[in-house]
């Protein structure tokens, strides 16, 4: 009983940060299970979708279609609320520019995706599936992302 007042007067930030992190864990589990069930963790399946002139496997289209349909409807319901459950505001992208970074980034990503059949989600989820290819792909993925962010940060410092 004596613990109740001190818990109530503790700053609300810490428990909410914990709730936010736990929610992210739950969401990650659902996401990772979805990737495994859809077999997007199998790069052969991804490449066979991308290989239009080979033995085409349309499965990925159903993954994307199902995900977009649910997210489209769900976002419309959720974004009508004033704020999310565990934060003060929705964190939505604000940029609207169709610029060189967006297009060049998408081209580079498409090159890598079409080459090996991994995008970031399935590659990370594959760590749970005992796939030795991740030992090559993931460090390179981290290095590539790190290099870009480091360059961008240096450029913005030089410009300011």
């Amino acid at each position: 009983m004596s613990a109740a007042p001190s818990a109530a007067s503790a700053p609300a930030i810490a428990p909410r940060g914990a709730a936010r992190a736990l929610a992210a864990l739950l969401v990650g589990v659902v996401f990772g299970a979805g990737l495994a069930i859809a077999q997007m963790t199998d790069p052969r399946k991804v490449l066979n979708f991308l290989d239009l002139t080979g033995r085409w496997d349309a499965s990925l289209l159903f993954v994307l279609g199902g995900a977009v349909a649910v997210a489209f409807v769900g976002y419309r319901v959720v974004l009508r609320r004033a704020k999310p459950l565990f934060d003060d505001a929705f964190h939505l992208p604000t940029s609207t520019a169709i610029d060189a970074a967006l297009v060049c980034g998408a081209v580079l990503f498409g090159l890598g995706w079409g080459l090996a059949g991994y995008c970031p989600g399935p590659a990370i989820a594959s760590l749970g599936l005992d796939n030795p290819e991740t030992l090559w792909f993931l460090p390179a993925l981290a290095l590539g992302a790190f290099a870009q962010r480091w360059r961008a940060r240096r450029a913005s410092r030089a410009g300011s």
Binding site: A24, L25, L26, V27, G28, V29, F31, G32, G34, L35, A36, Q39, K45, L47, L50, D51, T53, G54, S59, F62, L64, G65, G66, A67, V68, A69, V70, A71, F72, G74, Y75, L79, F86, D87, P93, I98, A101, G105, L108, F109, G110, L111, G112, L115, A116, Y118, C119, G121, A123, I124, A125, L129, N131, F137, L138, L141, A145, Q148, R149, A152
Partner: protein, 144 residues
């Protein structure tokens, strides 16, 4: 050759969409894997814990699905490691420069009807189609 699996694909896709909606409802964030994982290094304190747990969840979710008997094929073998490294660098750099990957742009962005995400998704899909064609049928660099 992989068999066409529309029902498993749709079920998995629905779960991915559900995850995107949950992350928006609970945390107010876009479920973009490259952005979330990329922010593990370059982000302010207080922004790291939820990202780290999301990534851990991704691994745990795939592991759990397999442990519960969801069929998953044996890992690919014989794919050149040098191509895996090259692909990893391209995907890492590209998704960081272009602010998103298949989940952030392809699922969340399209669902929000974002013009940027429509452009990014069209470009990376088109590039990937061409790349796979060239690698498999022109260069014949990897087994098709």
């Amino acid at each position: 050759m992989t068999p066409f699996t529309p029902f498993a694909a749709l079920a998995g896709g629905v779960l991915i969409g559900l995850a995107a909606v949950l992350l928006m409802w609970l945390d107010g964030r876009i479920a973009g894997v490259s952005g979330i994982a990329g922010g593990l290094w370059f982000s302010v304190a207080g922004e790291r814990a939820w990202r780290l747990l999301f990534v851990a969840g991704l691994i745990l979710g795939a592991w759990g699905a397999a442990a519960l008997g969801v069929p998953h094929p044996a890992p690919r073998s014989g794919f050149p490691p040098v191509l895996l490294v090259l692909a990893g660098l391209l995907v890492g750099y590209g998704t960081s420069l272009g602010s998103g990957c298949t989940s952030g742009h392809g699922v969340c962005g399209i669902a929000r009807l974002s013009r940027r995400s429509f452009v990014a998704t069209s470009v990376f899909l088109a590039t990937a189609f061409v790349t796979t064609f060239v690698v498999r049928h022109v260069l014949q660099a990897v087994p098709g």
